[in-house]
Structure formats: structure tokens, C-alpha cells
Subunit: 332 residues, 2 copies
């Protein structure tokens, strides 16, 4: 019997196939078919971005964040990297009978604080309770509506050979923090999730010379670059030496055998920028607190094999595939 | 230790208090605070309605519908009774590891068909998988955006003494169908859920003489009328003899000791209409297949005790309270 497995939710190839073979096939429409981080819709003369995300992270509270903060940031960031200023959010909570009121309150206050810092409002909500055992604590869905920036022209079809790839900061922090919180490892360094709203960073850099942006969440930097390469057709090459990774994250990954290139981020963005403006966008990004560790990590190549290459520190080059299987379930 | 219980999700008083004391207190903003079925937001000169709902129904498939159909109808109907034409939906699914692919496909096809009949598109989606035991099968969240009808002026503040209360058809069908499907009762009559999209019915009747609409889902007709009475301040009186109930639903309720006035509906609406136009709206409603059993069931009174009264067939009158406790968990 064919069943859904954890790997179908990893953000990798199996999930991609499922989305294509089941959802796009049946729900087929020009908005959904673009498979963007958000759909672009029209309301009168206004162009809006619209997105949704569910959050099942475990544990609910972790260094640097919690499921409430994550629920707001996840949707805010999908709108932001689509070149839109997030305005209105919805929030649907499903809670297990017996869930601690104090925890629900802590999560709600975290949602409140994150909304405040992102400048958005939860304008619609839903609350369901299911019997003990029917859910593991609490799952949250948010959806969001943003107004597309006047000077934004984010479209994967605008990517050209020679474009530079910028990452807004260190990678793997979120997944490493969850890993550490979950495993209760005795690890000296404290690793905090990067979970945070990116809309202020985006509004400080947005311009037509940004061809495309995406936040590398499930599947990490490597999987997100593969998605971009598949969609635009061009190869992408990144330089290992230029990828910013915190020492503590690197050390944890080495101990546990994880590859930070596949580890989820919740407060980072990849920007693909026309090459003549890459340095200017980079320096703008570096002026923002959330972009201070930004780096140009690679470029779009002219070859069209839809492959992502990692140029290693030793001078070699290897193919970076999409994530396969499930590295870390319930990361977000 | 204070915990969340099933009753907090019933649509009744406990849920109302939780929403006020936790969510409105913390997430406080003029859109959310109205506690409408949908929030009204502006995009340029356009007035939009925006709403969200999560679906945890058990069993997933029942006579007259399934969790997929319900997920589309629930959100479409919240927009429709807010006086808006539903346009764009988002859909977030959380699925248990090991869930049957064939069931996911059946649910997706049902979503597709319901979207088609309601004239809406799923434009944004999210798919998460959690480990075995972390969720009971599949839960779905939808959110939706609708364009408010030009000639709609739905506002609870417009309700006045003398206004008539119209129900669009028989009550309790959805809950009765779930009850029957869940309990595997040997009951001769087949009861189908009324689960269906109301936007076509609404567009056939919408006009300024409709003061307010709401779909009586969780908590049923009695709870929804109580919410309306609490919000507008006026008493409401309904006539037992005029409330349309299918014989089979009535019989099932009598056997099991349920009160159909508190049973959820998923394809019915309550319209509060200025008295001079009530008959005209009623006859328009009756011309629509989903409104053929519509009835005027009562009126708004001038007294301001925020009470709902049922005038019984025997000539008496009793207070109809909000639902307390949880009549039937996971009804939607």
C-alpha cells in the first residue's frame, strides 16, 4: 500500500514529486502552478502576495524562539522574499486536550511580540481542540497577505547567467538549535535559532536589480538552490570558502554527522542579484542587523544542466543534490 | 494546573472567554477585535474579506462530504456570510507518517471538485508530515480571501428590533451525519451532511436589506443566535414550530438525546433581514436549490437582555443558552 512518509515532508525531491503529481495535477491554476513562496493576486489595481505555512516544530520552545515566533516569521518571510510587505496574517491553532494554559499563553505572547516587531497584525483566527493523543501538543497554521513593493520585480524567469548569489548570514543556526534542544546534548556552546522576521531587511534592499529571493528553510541552502536551478534552468556554483557558518554550528554538525548546507534556516534569505549591482546590494544588506554576516557565495552559470555545484576549499568541485529522505523531522 | 479542554473548542462560552482573555487581549487590533466570521481589510480601493479555519473532522469521509470538501466549504462560507465573493484560498495539510496515499488523493480530488463548484482557486499551499502518533491522520487548514459585494452592508451593528431571522434550510444535518458515521449505529435512514458552498446562494440574495449573516457551524443555531444577541445587544425570539428539521435528524436526536438546535451545520446560513424585505429575501432564497427549505424562524426583539428565547410548540417560552461543554468533538 502506497503511503505518505516523513520524507514527503522534507522539502526535497519526494515532496516536489508529490506536489507535482497530486496537488498541481488536481488543483491546477496559474497562481498555484508557479510554486512560488507566495502567490501573486490582484485586488483592483493593487498587487498582493498571499501565502500559507503550518508549524509542527518540536520542541515548542527552543533557544532563540518558539512555535509562536516561528509561525509569524515563517509567513512574514515567505511574503518578504516574494518582494511584498507583509500586512495581515491569519492564525489557526489546533491544540490537544490537556495542553497547559500557561504554554498557550506563552506562545500567544510570543506571537504578539513577533507581530509587533514585524509590523503585522493577526486579523483572523481559528481555535480547535482535539482529544488527548490526536495531536502532539499544538500545531499552528498561519497565512498572510502582503502588498508587493512598487520597485519589486521578483521572478525566477528574470535570473540570468552571471547573476550573483548572496546569502544574508550564517547558515544552519535554526536546525542546529532545534537539534541541540531536542537531543539534550551536552554541548558547551549555546546555539540560538536565527528565527526572525526578514521584512525590514528586505525593505532596506528591495530594488529591480534583485531578480529573485527565497528563504532557505526545510532542506537548507543546498535544496533551495536546487529548486532555483530547476526552475530557472541554469546551473549554480557556490564557493564553500565563502559560505558563512558559525563555528559552534560547524562543530555540532561534525559531531553529529549533519551537513549544514542541508540544515533549515528561519531568518535568512538568498538573493539573486544582477552582477553589476551585487556589491551595492551586499553593502546595503550588511548595514542591517539581520544582514551583517551577508556574503556573496556564488553565481549563476551559463550551462543549463539544472545542477548546483560546490567549489570546495581544496579546489575541487562536487554536485550538491536536493535533500533526499528526511534529515530532521518537525524542524519547523 | 490550568489546561485547555475539549470544551474550549466547542464554539460555546468557554471558547468565547478564551478568545477574549487570551487572543483578543494579546493580539488586540481593530480587525481581529470585531470577531466576525471574516476580517475586512483594504487593498487600495478594494474591500476584501479574509478568514481562516482548521478542520479536524472524524471520520475523514462521511455521507455527503469529507474533510477536503469541508475545508473548502468552511472557508468559502465564512467569506460568503460576510457578504463577500470568495476568490482565493490557501490550503495547509498536516499528515501522519503512514497515511494512505489513496486517501490523500481522494481528499485532494474532493478539494478540487468543491473549488470548482464554488468558483475558487487554491493559490497557496503547504504540506507537512509528522511522525506516527503525532497526529490522527490528517488535519487541514484553509484561509481565504473574498471581494466584498458592492451592495453588501453586513454589520452586526445594523441589526434593529423587528428584523426577521431567516434560516436557509434544515438544521443539524451535518452533525447528525457525522454522529451516524462515527458511531456506526444501525439506523435505517441515511443522513447526509449539508456540507456545501453557500456563495452562490448568497450572491442570489445579497442586498442592503440584509443586516447580518452567519453560518451556524460549531454550537449550532442556538449558539450562533446567542453570539449575535450578545454582539448586537437585543433579545432574539424564535418559534420552535417554524424551525426546519428533517424527520430523520429529529429521530436520531431523540434516540441519542441530542438537541438539534445545538448541532453543527456546514451548508446553512442565518440571515437577519429588515422586516419589510424579509418575505422578498425568503422567496429569493427559496428559488435557489440550497435555500428551498428556508424559513423565517423569528425576530429581533426590542428588549436588551442579550437573551435568546425559544417559543415552544405548546405555547411556552424558554431561554436558549449558548452551548456549554462539548456536544460532539471533531465535528468539523
Amino acid at each position: 500500500m502506497k503511503t505518505i512518509t516523513l520524507s514527503h515532508g522534507s522539502g526535497g525531491k519526494l515532496m516536489r514529486d508529490l506536489i507535482k503529481d497530486l496537488f498541481i495535477k488536481n488543483l491546477d491554476n496559474p497562481f498555484l502552478n508557479k510554486l512560488g513562496d507566495a502567490a501573486f493576486i490582484k485586488a483592483g489595481s493593487k498587487k498582493l502576495a498571499y501565502t500559507t505555512d503550518s508549524f509542527v516544530v518540536k520542541p515548542l520552545f527552543f533557544p532563540g524562539g518558539d512555535i509562536g515566533k516561528l509561525s509569524v516569521c515563517g509567513t512574514v518571510n515567505d511574503l518578504a522574499v516574494s518582494g511584498a510587505m507583509p500586512k495581515y496574517l491569519s492564525c489557526g491553532m489546533i491544540v490537544e486536550d490537556g495542553f497547559r494554559y500557561a504554554d498557550l499563553e506563552r506562545i500567544t505572547i510570543s506571537i504578539k511580540n513577533t507581530c509587533k516587531s514585524a509590523g503585522v497584525n493577526i486579523v483572523a483566527g481559528d481555535f480547535k481542540v482535539v482529544e488527548k493523543g490526536a495531536i502532539d501538543g499544538i500545531f499552528i497554521n498561519t497565512s498572510g497577505i502582503g502588498e508587493v513593493f512598487e520597485n519589486s520585480e521578483i521572478a525566477i524567469s528574470r535570473i540570468k547567467p552571471g547573476d550573483k548569489i548572496i546569502i544574508s548570514g550564517t547558515i544552519g543556526d535554526h536546525a542546529a538549535s532545534i537539534l541541540l534542544a531536542r537531543e539534550e546534548l551536552k554541548f558547551k556552546a549555546r546555539i540560538s535559532s536565527d528565527c526572525g522576521p526578514l521584512n525590514s531587511l528586505v525593505s532596506s534592499i528591495i530594488s529591480r536589480c534583485i531578480r529573485f529571493m527565497r528563504d532557505p528553510t526545510r532542506g537548507g541552502l543546498a535544496t533551495t538552490l536546487n529548486e532555483i536551478s530547476l526552475a530557472c534552468g541554469y546551473n549554480i556554483a557556490i564557493e564553500e570558502a565563502n559560505i558563512p557558518i558559525k563555528k559552534s554550528v560547524k562543530a555540532l554538525c561534525e559531531i553529529l554527522g549533519f551537513d549544514p548546507l542541508y540544515m533549515a534556516n528561519e531568518g535568512k534569505l538568498i538573493a539573486i542579484v544582477s552582477k553589476d549591482y551585487a556589491n551595492s546590494i551586499l553593502s546595503k544588506m550588511k548595514k542591517h542587523p539581520l544582514g551583517k554576516d551577508a556574503r556573496i557565495i556564488g553565481a549563476v552559470e551559463k550551462e543549463k544542466d539544472k545542477r548546483v555545484y560546490l567549489k570546495t576549499q581544496s579546489g575541487g568541485s562536487r554536485i550538491l543534490d536536493m535533500i533526499t529522505g528526511e534529515q530532521l523531522p518537525r524542524i519547523c
